[in-house]
């Protein structure tokens, strides 16, 4: 292969992340190294940068370069009703328990562009719970939150989400949940009116409210073991007693020292409940 593939050593990566923290205040030092390394190398290829020195220089001297870096480092991929079985479990095992609260508070941590939050709103709506639910949806990346507020999704992608919706056992006419405009769908404002989007960094920010349910899916996979422990502690403190914690289907609490403080509600779908 003729293509010159840039590379970067662990020490160089460490050094760049350190400078980013000093310059922009974002702390990526405890992110899991394997995928961080991969994305940084891809990013270097993208901006035609072949050495770690050059990368550091460019990032530190241009907010624009850094913003693009942030965009690439925080993996923003998301879907509506990803893992249909997870939503089925939510509907059957969690929502009926939440129904006993006069006001339900939910936190979506690492909500990306909102697709997961819109899915939850549809579930809540169908369970007649949406009116008394307050949803706090947070992310580290301001651009994601900006997009989430607009709730615009391309129609061809929406087709896939419609399939996911039926797979999780949805029975309504999915098209009622959005208005189509040219090639896009806009998620109905009625569904979204109780969502508050705001910036929150799981690495550095603190508890800000008390919740009956926290969803943090496919976010902590980017963190190393120590940071995962810190964030699970943060969630534990943010949950009301018997509050629920929902992680991605491949995120276990088994490897966390916080494991004894939760009981398992659904092993396969990684739904837990605060026990002490």
């Amino acid at each position: 292969m003729a293509k010159q593939i840039p590379d970067i050593t662990n020490d160089e990566l460490e050094d760049i992340l350190c400078s980013i923290f000093d310059t922009y205040g974002y702390d990526f030092s405890a992110y899991a190294r394997a995928s961080m390394h991969r994305r940084v190398v891809k990013y270097m290829e993208d901006i035609n940068c072949s050495t770690a020195r050059d990368l550091k220089y460019q990032i530190i001297n241009s907010t624009e370069v850094f913003n693009y870096f942030l965009q690439r480092i925080t993996v923003n991929v998301t879907e509506m009703f990803r893992d249909p079985d997870f939503y089925k479990a939510m509907k059957e095992q969690v929502l009926p328990m939440l129904a006993s609260y006069p006001i339900i508070k939910i936190w979506h941590a690492g909500c990306s562009t909102g697709e997961e939050v819109f899915s939850m709103c549809i579930l809540l709506h169908e369970a007649n719970l949406l009116e008394r639910t307050r949803i706090y949806a947070t992310d580290i990346n301001p651009l994601n939150l900006e997009k989430a507020k607009h709730a615009i999704i391309p129609l061809d992608v929406m087709k896939e989400y419609t399939i996911n919706y039926f797979k999780m056992g949805g029975t309504n006419d999915f098209a009622n949940y959005y208005t189509a405009k040219y090639d896009n769908a806009i998620i109905s404002l009625d569904l979204r009116k109780n969502i508050l989007f705001s910036q929150h960094n799981l690495v550095t920010d603190e508890v800000f409210n008390e919740f009956q349910l926290i969803c943090c899916r496919n976010v902590m996979i980017y963190f190393n073991h120590q940071l995962q422990n810190r964030v699970i502690k943060l969630f534990h403190e943010s949950l009301s007693s018997f509050g629920y914690l929902a992680l991605g289907v491949k995120e276990s609490l088994l490897f966390s020292e916080m494991r004894p403080k939760f009981e398992v509600i659904n092993r396969n779908q990684k739904i837990f409940r605060r026990s002490i």
Partner: protein
Amino acid sequence: MRVQPKMIVIGGSAGSVPVILEIMKAIPDKFPHTVVIVIHRQRNVSSEMATVLSIANERKPIVEPDDKEPIKTGCIYLAPQNYHLLIEDDHTFSLDYSEAIKYSRPSIDVSFESVARVFGENACAILLSGANSDGTEGLHSIIENKGTAIVQDPTSAAYPAMPMAAIAANKSSLVFKPIEIAKFVADLQQ
């Protein structure tokens, strides 16, 4: 003498399951290595792949690892569908939910590259039948890091495109028929 691999990573796409089954059968009971299987599958459908593969060798259960699960010697792992599978320096698995690469998630390239970085000369990558070109770049990393690169002989593959692309770009790969791959794995025991 050639270095004995400690980490064997198998990448397969269309037409690879029968070959994987043959390799699985060849794995001896006492096996001081780890096997990771990365195979292209459909998204958002619950898949029975782990069950299908387990049938080949009932003494060796197949595990779809969770994020940050420690890698155990003697175990066979299957990359979960819809995530890329990577390996950390401390020998734990990491999952990554980023864009599909060459329409694939899990991507064989991503896992091969990650195995190459962490296991270097103790890595052995085996690339099987498939209809795309995933695995070519990953195999390159394996070779660069002094690991062993094995590609299924395209004439024996149900879909030869993937092994052909890999061999064309990586001249030093060993080209084996399924039976030879199985023998290679069986002989790793000592």
